[in-house]
Symmetry: C2
Subunit: 308 residues, 2 copies
């Protein structure tokens, strides 16, 4: 892994599928390349990547395909957490050996009400098994989905035990008070706080954070990167409001199918609509409402021809 820390706007890269719902390696690679052109980092295998709907073998193949296509591992932060720690170890090791800039790690998420001691042991088991000083872990706090929070106390303990390895967090709690507490308690120790969506991008930068990792980076990257680049300048609040307005249009619908529908619309490639069960693609009426809402905002995907 690189010694330069990851910062900026990252996106959990959507995973496009073929008609038989196998991953479309070709569309995936093109989408990753397009994101990098917009200066968006690659959080492949995140929640919005339908990563938990992919087998370990499928994830290994997709990561390998990006590397074979010459995409820079240093700009990648693959999601490697899993319920079975053996799976988490295998994918984390693969990412480290590939030179990924970091990994984004879910806690085991099946059992609920588990203790901080149990979660500490979970992360420690993976770190000790991978046993590589290049490993940089970004903890993935997303209690609305996992129902397994990563508490401030757990972070403190992990940072103390593995100071060189625990690199930061993606805070997808949606609770700004929590992000603020992470910024206050841990950012000064070099623990890098990424907001879990662009909704908190400006607030996070003002609070000393390092950027955001956001689903809608898949479809609206340019204005996010623009705000990240100029957050200290005049007009930043207006930029944030514009980002919020675009996100609100997507959030009328389940986010993953809505983003895929938007890419299908802009590229003219209907295959992009496909999602794996238990998700369901938008129907025609929903897609039309989405398109209308985005058109009213003058929504644009620069260089979309690169995706076609």
């Amino acid at each position: 892994m690189t010694t330069t820390r990851l910062r900026g706007v990252f996106s959990p890269v959507l995973t496009p599928f073929n008609a038989d719902l196998t991953p479309s390696v070709e569309r995936f690679t093109r989408h990753c390349r397009w994101l990098l052109e917009q200066d968006v980092g690659l959080s492949i295998f995140g929640t919005n990547s339908e990563a938990t709907s992919l087998t370990l073998a499928e994830k290994r193949r997709l990561l390998d395909a990006l590397l074979e296509a010459g995409l820079p591992a240093a700009r990648m932060m693959p999601g490697t957490g899993a319920c079975a720690l053996g799976d988490a170890i295998e994918l984390t090791r693969h990412a480290v050996e590939a030179g990924c800039g970091g990994v984004l790690m879910l806690p085991p998420f099946y059992y609920k009400g588990v203790s901080d001691e149990g979660l500490f042991r979970s992360f420690a088991t993976v770190i000790d098994a991978v046993a590589d000083e290049r490993l940089k872990i970004y903890l993935y706090h997303i209690p609305p989905v996992t129902q397994v929070p990563i508490s401030l106390g757990l972070i403190e303990r992990l940072l103390k035990a593995y100071p060189g390895t625990i690199a930061g967090v993606k805070d997808s709690s949606g609770d700004w008070n929590n992000t603020e507490a992470m910024l206050r308690n841990f950012q000064p120790q070099g623990f890098d706080v990424f907001a879990g969506s662009e909704t908190f991008l400006l607030a996070n930068m003002r609070g000393g954070g390092v950027g955001c990792i956001t689903a809608t980076g898949n479809v609206n990257p340019a204005p996010m990167v623009a705000l990240y680049d100029s957050w200290q300048q005049e007009g930043a609040d207006e930029q944030q409001h514009a980002l919020d307005a675009t996100r609100a249009v997507f959030q009328q619908f389940p986010l993953i199918p809505a983003m895929k529908a938007a890419i299908a619309w802009k590229t003219g490639d209907a295959a992009w609509r496909a999602v794996r069960p238990p998700l369901v693609e938008l129907d025609a009426a929903q897609a039309q409402t989405l398109e209308g809402g985005l058109e009213r905002l003058g929504f644009d995907m620069p260089y979309v021809e690169d995706l076609m």
Copy 2:
């Protein structure tokens, strides 16, 4: 798979580990054999088996070990559901080809708030991919853990689409009204309702159900089987109360570590205490409290020498 439907008391078989937390195949096989001797069926790879903490390869090896040891596949109902449907398909296919009496299937459980349409497609994808008329699926409804309920509407739709394959349910909602609704709506169509714990064993039998699949079957099997065998006779309510009293002692603590502690105590094999993260084994004081509570009830594990 057999044409005889599964009924009676089943247990999600605890998965014992070695000191390095690899599965102890030898203890596992002995425990399965002991359960069969008590007339308890083998729901290997359930919630209380720490199944989601096992890799797919580990589960395949454990199932194969039981078959190689000559244990009857017809008495097995392995848990085969997974977030990634590719994993669910692989393990389900393996179970069917091995001749298992049925499989217990979790829905994909990472995404929350998913639609019945998405869950229908999830089960349908597995059924269509396995494409084997021997397949008998028991739906695993355990919303306190998955947070992804299997609704009555979903069952109705699945039963209509796959009448020969959708065989029943384990209802671990803890909500008797829900079990009663399943019994009323679907048991008459041959959809077999298992209570999700022995707490509802008697009520479920009186309501027309076929038994229970229960964690504490791992440690207290004999009295459960006795109630199942004689639920129509006098004294059944007292038997149920005795079962409830024993369960209450275990439920003072997280159930999986508590059951493993009890087996370690009764067999004198301390290795039985081990759990995988994110779970944590009972500490010495907790184990002592547990043992004291069980001793006061005259708790016994018949033929425990077979486990040693």
